[in-house]
Amino acid sequence: MGTILTLEHLTYTYSPDTPFEKVALDDIDLSIEAGEFVGVIGHTGSGKSTLIQHMNGLLQPTKGRVLFRGRDIWEDKKKLRQIRFAVGLVFQYPEYQLFEETVEKDIAFGPTNMGLSPDEIKGRVREAASLVGLPEALLKKSPFELSGGQKRRVAIAGVIAMRPQVLILDEPTAGLDPRGREMILRQIKEYHTKMGNTVLLVSHSMDDVARFASRVLVMNRSRVFAYDTPEAVFCRGGELREIGLSVPQMTMVADALRQRGYPLPEGIYTVEQAAQALLLLFRGGDAPC
């Protein structure tokens, strides 16, 4: 499938030449392959929010380039809106952007801006609603009558309805209860499997990233700290803890046992993996290393 997004020497400075000047991104090089499910982690202030706003051209790099399918997105400013349709970005607490009278109209906002035909828009709204698990009956309701979790799914559907080739979600589960969190994450995973599109999921939860991502991007102090498979990233548990990030609980348990001389394989990060490896030990078999 090839590379879909490339960042070359990307640097971004907030409020340059003022006392508030702050380098938010410092010489970032990164290529994202089409079809990946990328988990993005890092502290508040590590640059991850600034990074994703460059991917759809909401922010313009101070230095460096952003390439979408090999083309500089700032080459032709008139085409910038096309990039925003191709790289869909769901912000934190996206339910606060809802404004239409009905759920249907709100989801249709993006597709309408794309200039699609009414029939096409209708089809896309239905498709997006079903992808996020919103029942048809809700489409005619006001978005403000819905529960918190439902509102959030309406907002996500509003971006999915543009059929972006890349879907970026900034902490889509923030503030939800465990049930709401689980529902959203599962739907995103399903969307990824069904559509085969590229997904970037920004999250504070190592456990969520570990469960879903095929690649993990770790940001630290305006730079890329790691971009690799979850196994490879969580193997660097010590370093992650040094930069103040946690590792999945299962990785911590496995690391501690390994330190005590039990031959557990590296790269354990889910309960199933840990249970499997431990059962092998308990049954006396030699665990593969």
């Binding site: 508030f20 925003r84 606060y96 952007q97 801006n113 794309m114 971006v159 543009m162």
Partner: protein, 271 residues
């Protein structure tokens, strides 16, 4: 970012003027404005200019800041100047068709400009050296006697405080909503005026809803913290007049007196 812009252009500092009691600063500013309107001759004008420039020096506020605060009223300033220049009768010194400039016109327009400049410089100095919060406190306490005649002094001050507190939050929120709608292809920069006005709807509705939600939550939080209006309320920060406040008052009063004396001895430029 937008939220880094401070409201009321406050310049933090530790100069004597910064440390003056805000009530005194408000009173002194009023005295200075009165002084400006009393000035009638050259000596008085020199005095008022020197007075305000000295205050800027003491407060360590760059004098070029005056230029900055003049900018928004520049059209009015020019208009007043031209009006005085062309329409005051007297000794004609230049003529072109029906337009004529008189000696008196030049004199008056120059004096008018100086007066307005001093006015802006003086009142700006108040906001440069006093944080909006302190200023609100100062106003509240100055107006306190009005509470006796059921003027809602405390309520007004509380509203001011909350507005100051939430402006940065709402500005930040507006930026966020704008970015979110742009990500859905909202186009706010091109098109006709009507198109652009329409494009504001997706920003204003979420913003208002959010402001209402915040107001409701804030009211609840204030109630939980035993807020029950201004009655029986005390304040942590007390305002005390220090010797420096009295010196400042004396100095300004002296300037006012000097202007009056000048008026008596040197006569009026306005004939």
């Amino acid at each position: 970012m937008l939220k880094d812009i401070t409201i009321g252009q406050y310049f933090p500092g530790t100069s004597v003027i910064h440390r003056l009691d805000p009530r005194m600063k408000i009173v002194l500013t009023i005295v200075y404005v009165v002084l400006l309107f009393l000035v009638e001759n050259l000596a008085g004008f020199v005095l008022s200019v020197v007075f305000v420039l000295a205050a800027y020096l003491i407060a360590r506020i760059p004098v070029k800041m005056i230029a900055k605060s003049i900018k928004p009223i520049l059209p009015i300033l020019l208009f007043t100047m031209l009006l005085n220049l062309f329409f005051v009768r007297g000794t004609v010194i230049w003529q072109w068709g029906v337009l004529e400039i008189t000696r008196e016109g030049v004199r008056l327009s120059v004096l008018m400009v100086i007066r307005i400049l001093c006015l802006i410089a003086g009142t700006s100095l108040l906001t440069y050296t006093t944080s909006p919060m302190t200023l609100t406190d100062g106003i509240e306490r100055l107006l306190k006697p009005l509470g006796k005649v059921h003027f809602p002094v405390h309520e007004l001050a509380m509203m001011m405080t909350i507005a100051l507190r939430f402006i940065p939050t709402l500005v930040e929120e507006t930026e966020k909503i704008m970015a979110a709608q742009k990500a859905r292809g909202a186009d706010m920069e091109t098109g006709s005026l009507i198109h652009r006005a329409k494009a504001l709807v997706p920003i204003l509705i979420p913003l208002f809803l959010s402001a209402f939600r915040r107001a409701e939550e804030l009211a609840l939080a204030m109630e939980c913290r035993c807020y029950h209006g201004g009655k029986g309320r005390t304040r942590m920060k007390q305002m005390h007049l220090a010797p420096r406040d009295l010196w400042a008052l004396l100095l300004t009063a002296a300037a006012l007196a000097a202007v009056i004396v000048c008026n008596i001895f040197f006569g009026s430029l306005y004939g």
